[in-house]
């Protein structure tokens, strides 16, 4: 098996668009099934009432991470051919903070916004319009941000390359962190559910 299939030209760029739709359907399906079409459910994450965002995200990350590692280990998947967004640490830190603010204000991220739009949520539709506006503002003012945008350049780099810790060990640590986080998340939800129940008495 030679994967990624596309990079080995098993099919044409045009056919990849069909695959894009199929993968997108899977993406949207699980986002909506997880409850990410609802801004209230998403936002509850940040009030410790519902840790679904954390649970779903980290289960997905761990699943894909373990899959990539073992497929690579078996020699079936050439990890070096998977696109890695280059790291520009400063704009990514600042962008992340802005995104976090946008998340509690808007209630969605672009992917979940699409999922909510598709189930008829009016706020999701308005939210997506907002995303367009935000990108437009960024695009129009790009010359202002240009220098900042390319600051803190570290190239295409992974945690195991940065730290020198073997890939498998990093994977193990992420798994431990995730499982620990899940146990904590269940506890936090219970605690706040109890607290809310008492408060409403």
């Amino acid at each position: 098996m030679n994967a990624p299939f596309f990079k080995f030209e098993y099919f044409t760029p045009d056919f990849s668009l069909v695959i894009a739709i199929l993968i997108g359907i899977g993406f949207g399906f699980f986002l909506e099934q997880a409850g990410f079409g609802s801004a209230r459910k998403l936002a509850a994450q940040f009030y410790f009432r519902d840790m679904t965002v954390f649970k779903v995200m980290f289960t997905a990350i761990v699943t894909a991470m373990v899959g990539v590692f073992y497929l690579g280990w078996l020699g079936w998947l050439d990890i070096s051919l998977i696109y890695l967004t280059p790291t520009y640490i400063t704009p990514q830190v600042v962008g992340g903070l802005i995104l976090g603010l946008g998340f509690v204000v808007g209630g969605y991220c672009p992917g979940t916004g699409m999922a909510s739009l598709s189930t008829g949520r009016v706020d999701g539709m308005i939210y997506i319009l907002g995303v367009f506006a935000g990108i437009f503002v960024f695009g129009e003012s790009f010359s202002i941000w240009k220098d900042f945008y390319v600051s803190g350049k570290m190239g295409q780099i992974t945690l195991y390359e940065l730290t020198g810790i073997p890939y498998g060990v990093i994977m193990f640590l992420v798994i431990l962190m995730a499982i620990g986080g899940f146990i904590g998340a269940e506890k936090v939800e219970k605690y706040f559910a109890k607290k809310d129940a008492e408060a409403s008495k």
């Binding site: 990890i79 992974t158 890939y167 498998g168 499982i179």
Partner: protein, 221 residues
């Protein structure tokens, strides 16, 4: 310890399974990108011999026309030569700074120099340092000029050759070259051969800042 994941047991099994996989991963060793890799000289020699790590100029031209963005094209010629002409999208990296971190071990790297010898040396250097996904252009920049920029139809060619030549001419014009019409049997004079290198759109002395002739679309989010 009782893990209260949910009423369903499936997540708990998944958790146990993933922990086992994680523990195995601890001892699995590295997959790729391992800098301290011993290179097998014999294996390396075999690869060079079998030419599997070569890319033809035709393939490269196709990829550039398709706008594929999954590779880095590296020109290791002198800066002056690079500024005179380079293949669109190429970046100029000196042999001495190849390992300075500009290139990623997980990137597909395509090297070329004028004739190909320097590129082969650079390729060995990269390969020995764990850049497993490096390639050289067969024939180097000379081959690019002969075949892509200034293709010519040899005298006494068949009709099929002529059809293929039409395609080559289209490719050539795409890259700003000039097909050598006069090389055909009809006009044997070599004096009219025009081999003027296409003008580069950028004037930058720093290779990395040179604007690519063809813009790649973003692959990331």
């Amino acid at each position: 310890m009782k893990l209260e994941f949910s009423k369903a047991n499936a997540p708990r099994y998944l958790a146990v399974f993933v922990i086992i996989l994680g523990v195995i991963g601890l001892f699995a060793g590295d997959i790729k990108n391992n800098a301290s890799k011993n290179i097998d000289n014999k294996e390396l020699a075999l690869i060079v011999e079998s030419k599997v790590d070569h890319i033809t100029v035709d393939d490269l031209a196709d990829w550039l026309i398709q706008g594929r963005a999954d590779f880095r094209l590296v020109d290791i010629n002198e800066e002056k030569e690079f500024n005179d002409y380079h293949i669109p999208n190429a970046e100029n990296i000196k042999m001495t700074s190849l390992l300075d971190g500009g290139l990623g071990k997980n990137e597909k790297i395509i090297l070329y120099s004028t004739g190909g010898i320097h590129a082969a040396q650079a390729w060995m250097l990269l390969k020995a340092n764990g850049y497993d996904n490096s390639y050289t252009i067969l024939g180097g920049l000379d081959a690019w000029k002969d075949r892509i920029l200034f293709p010519s139809l040899p005298a006494g060619s068949s009709a099929i050759d002529s059809i293929n030549f039409e395609k080559l001419k289209a490719v050539s014009r795409y890259f700003g070259g000039s097909p050598q019409e006069s090389a055909s049997a009809a006009a044997p004079s070599t004096a009219t051969l025009k081999r003027e290198l296409p003008k580069l759109s950028s004037s930058g002395g720093d290779g990395s800042s040179a604007t690519p002739a063809k813009k790649k679309k973003k692959e990331g989010c």
